[in-house]
């Protein structure tokens, strides 16, 4: 198979030279991965091409990079799946993190965020002589999160981190969930309290990007949503995020649809003028573009059915 691998190159030692695209035309096997082609370039064509890779089997997490614009592991991405009809595929370093050279990024910030969630088991009381008893279903569930190989694909493509580098981010929050949901961990309460603060679980915008790009099926966003549920259950429901969720639910239950004018008032509180003033430009822009929600909010027809639906979902959640 003939492919053209277009690589985003950057070498800090070539002062003044910004990053640029370099194309490599290669003949590869039908089953070849993107990593195979990069290794071929490195070994046979251009020894200066820098990238990280090791296991070649999607377990070491070294080779996360952007392939055709989205974060993937190069080792388990087949060229035949990503190359266009012209055989072309683009390869860039992972996003969000600063580039060291070519496809190598500095992951310091990634690990700082992981460290931020106190990522170690904190059981209570003296250790038992034998193992902690725990249901297999819980452990199997956690194995789904522990399958995270810390490759950073989710961080690379996180749309929140792109705007706000303070966000703890999908990988670290998934890691936090792994402890909050571990029956052996005794610190879930304090973990959830911390995670409910600014830059934590409520800063996720639910864009699904991390779920999409995770090569191990960890689905970080789903874990963040589970953390939200747990935080609210534990009584951490006074955050804007939690109140926004409550207001959302109340509005839909009441009228079958969102009362967008009341939402910020409910979330921030009627007397929280600074926060409400902050929303004013948003309202103004909506008004100018003709997207202002109606001032008189009306219920949808058949709102009773919506209420019934909400009721039965809640019952299900309670396990009835």
């Amino acid at each position: 198979m003939q492919v053209v691998v277009s690589v985003r190159r950057y070498n800090p030692e070539d002062r003044g030279t910004p990053s640029y695209w370099q194309e490599y035309g290669l003949e590869v096997e039908e089953n070849a991965s993107v990593l195979d082609s990069l290794i071929k370039i490195r070994e046979e064509v251009d020894g200066s091409l820098a990238l990280r890779c090791s296991c070649r089997s999607a377990i070491c997490g070294s080779c996360a990079m952007r392939i055709n614009g989205h974060a993937k592991l190069a080792c388990n991405t087949k060229l035949s799946d990503v190359a266009g009809e012209d055989g072309k595929v683009t390869v860039e370093p992972a996003g969000v993190m600063p580039v060291v050279k070519d496809l190598v990024v500095d992951q310091t910030m990634f690990w700082d965020k992981v460290r931020q969630v106190s990522p170690w088991l904190q059981p209570e009381g003296p250790e038992p002589e034998a193992e902690y008893l725990a249901p297999n279903s819980d452990m199997t569930h956690l194995a789904g999160v522990m399958a995270c190989i810390m490759c950073g694909a989710c961080v690379s493509d996180c749309t929140v981190l792109e705007m706000d580098e303070n966000f703890i981010g999908p990988a670290a929050l998934a890691k936090a969930y792994r402890f909050a949901a571990d029956p052996r961990d005794a610190e879930d309460r304090s973990r959830l309290a911390t995670l409910s603060e600014y830059s934590g679980i409520w800063d996720c915008t639910r864009c699904f990007e991390c779920v999409e790009v995770c090569p191990k099926g960890v689905a970080p966003m789903d874990r963040i949503m589970s953390l939200r549920d747990r935080a609210m259950e534990r009584g951490y429901d006074k955050t804007y995020g939690a109140r926004h969720t409550d207001a959302f639910e109340e509005s839909v239950t009441h009228s079958g649809r969102l009362d967008e004018l009341r939402l910020p008032i409910k979330t921030f509180g009627f007397f929280n003028l600074p926060a409400l003033m902050n929303m004013a430009p948003v309202g103004l822009r909506a008004l100018l573009r003709g997207k202002m929600p109606p001032i008189f909010h009306r219920s949808v027809p058949g709102v009773k059915k919506v209420r019934q639906l909400v009721k039965s979902v809640k019952a299900q959640q309670r396990g009835e």
Partner: protein
């Protein structure tokens, strides 16, 4: 990491130097599990020890094996207490699966990524302890003064700067040397660095001919399919659809020792009962739910790397280079013959695996002896001062070496020499070996070394120069290869993984002993040491 945590808890000031971030290490690839005989399950460490000794083809030192197996339970429990999310049984206790070469199921596991699950938890403990890690620092040499190890020189890969790190004690935990062989199940980073560093510093290497071929690896890439698949009940079939292990190991069948299964496969393939150089691993009868829960990674690997859905069709596999039983000779404390220098894990040879390692004994080896060597190295460090060494001179020495390397433009690159080395090692030092092949290999090695003398680096930069790192690795690989081939030629019998067609039998009278290679001024020197036998006399191995 286990050694670092132990040394830290013993009160030592510890740092880890690693050429990759710790969670990228190759322990990730240990899929199936970790062995331990838990007494509250009716198992005994003596049974585990016997299985290990028999598996080793009686080449393992029985005192070391006794220690490993008797410590296994507490080491396993401490991993669980640290947070490893082991699979459970119905009562919520740790659950087991069957593994090869063992009479009972004593392999504890996390789906089929046990190594990764343990590695990441050890890294969590490292973060908790705030142990300094020099990530992506490549060790260039060990500093030996007055016969003792007192530090290392290292390259910071991200900047290309050379540093000298002083230490009272140094523990090598650098893993194996799989990439000497092409193909291999091993990650690209597994290049025998630590083994070569010790060898260059005068520490003897022991039983280096004991190279394990894993029975189930993918053709071409050599990617590993866990023994756990057979542990869960998968069958091996030849081209006639026959479960051929019936003829080689009628009792244990697919779960005989790895050397036995690999030889059987190779024999089937050689007899024309293979399919395109492979035999088949059949998981279909295990059913999709079990495969999805317990062999999830293998299911993905089948799809991604072989294009096979293992729930629907058998997957072609072949024996592939996997593990080094041999390594730097150490005692049970991890001490090598060089004072201040320790080794633990695959780079070391205590020896607990002898001629053939049992599946799921490698993770155990790393944590048990990592723990013990960490304690011991910390204890020794407490009672000795730092040596006053000439830091600038050591740094200059390495800088000069780089200058020389960078100045050459006419030589070959590392990649061609490495490929030729791997191809020849696979061809001449495969599942079966003989005198003529190994002698030819030794001659080839001379040629590779000459080519390496003239090697040139294409990337002349300093920042993240992997071209330079791979070139340096190749030097380590060539040293390791020399030790392997010399040991292989020396051992004139077939034992464990060392199957010689010209000496097809085990010869306890002459060869129930370890083969050691030491680099002296006048070149490599071979010597022998007796095997420690406590209570298990050598018997014929039947599975």
């Amino acid at each position: 990491m286990r050694a670092a945590i132990a040394a830290h808890q013993s009160g030592a000031t510890v740092a880890i130097i690693s050429k990759v971030h710790p969670v990228r290490s190759h322990s990730n690839a240990a899929q199936g599990g970790i062995n331990a005989a838990l007494t509250d399950r009716g198992d005994t460490w003596e049974d585990h020890a016997f299985d290990t000794i028999k598996g080793s083809d009686y080449l393992g030192d029985q005192d070391a094996i006794e220690y490993m197996c008797s410590e296994a339970g507490s080491e396993l429990i401490s991993l669980e207490h640290m947070g490893v999310i082991f699979n459970r049984d119905d009562e919520g206790r740790l659950g087991t699966r069957a593994f090869g070469g063992q009479q009972r199921a004593r392999t504890f596991f996390v789906a089929d990524f046990t190594g990764q699950a343990i590695l990441h938890v050890l890294y969590e403990q490292l973060m908790k302890s705030d142990i300094r890690v020099y990530e992506e620092w490549f060790v260039l040499s060990l500093i030996i003064e007055d016969g003792a190890c007192c530090g290392v020189t290292a390259l910071e890969i991200s900047t290309g700067r050379v540093y000298v790190i002083r230490a009272k004690t140094v523990i090598l935990c650098t893993g194996g040397l799989g990439r000497l062989f092409e193909p291999s199940t091993n990650a690209l980073i597994v290049t025998g660095d630590g083994i070569a560093l010790a060898y260059q510093s005068g520490a003897p290497l022991m039983d280096m001919e004991m190279v394990q071929y894993h029975p189930t690896t993918l053709k071409g890439s050599g990617v590993l399919i866990t023994e756990g698949a057979r542990g869960e009940g998968a069958h091996l079939l030849n081209s006639d659809g026959e479960r051929f292990m019936e003829r080689y190991a009628p009792n244990m069948m697919e779960l005989a020792s790895r050397d036995v299964v690999s030889r059987s496969e190779q024999t089937e393939i050689a007899a024309g009962r293979g399919i395109d150089g492979c035999v088949l691993l059949d998981c279909r009868h295990l059913g999709e739910p079990l495969i999805r829960e317990r062999l999830s990674q293998i299911y993905e690997i089948g799809l991604d790397f072989a294009g096979v859905d293992i729930t629907r069709e058998p997957i072609p596999i072949r024996p592939g280079m996997h593990y080094l039983m041999g390594g730097i000779k150490t005692d049970m404390d991890g001490s090598t013959n060089v004072p201040g220098l320790y080794a633990a894990g695959e780079c070391a040879n205590v020896s607990v695996h002898g001629g053939n390692r049992l599946g799921a004994n490698s993770l155990l080896d790393t944590v048990v002896f990592g723990h013990r060597s960490g304690n011991h190295a910390a204890e020794v460090a407490r009672n000795i001062p730092y040596k006053d060494i000439n830091v600038a001179a050591y740094a200059a020495q390495e800088e000069n070496r780089f200058k020389d390397l960078f100045s050459r433009d006419d030589g070959e690159r590392w990649s061609q020499i490495r490929l030729d080395l791997g191809t020849e090692m696979d061809r001449r030092f495969g599942v079966y070996r003989d005198e003529a092949g190994m002698k030819a290999l030794l001659k080839d090695l001379e040629g590779f070394k000459e080519r390496y003398e003239r090697v040139s680096v294409q990337d002349k930069g300093r920042v993240f120069n992997t071209d330079l790192v791979f070139t340096l690795e190749l030097g380590f690989m060539l040293d390791c290869a020399e030790a392997i081939v010399l040991s292989g030629l020396d051992r004139k019998e077939s034992r464990g993984a060392h199957s010689r067609t010209d000496y097809p039998r085990r010869d306890d009278e002459n060869w129930l002993k370890h083969v050691l290679v030491t680099r002296a001024e006048d070149g490599p020197r071979l010597s022998h040491l007796p095997v420690t036998i406590t209570k298990w006399q050598p018997e014929e191995r039947k599975y």
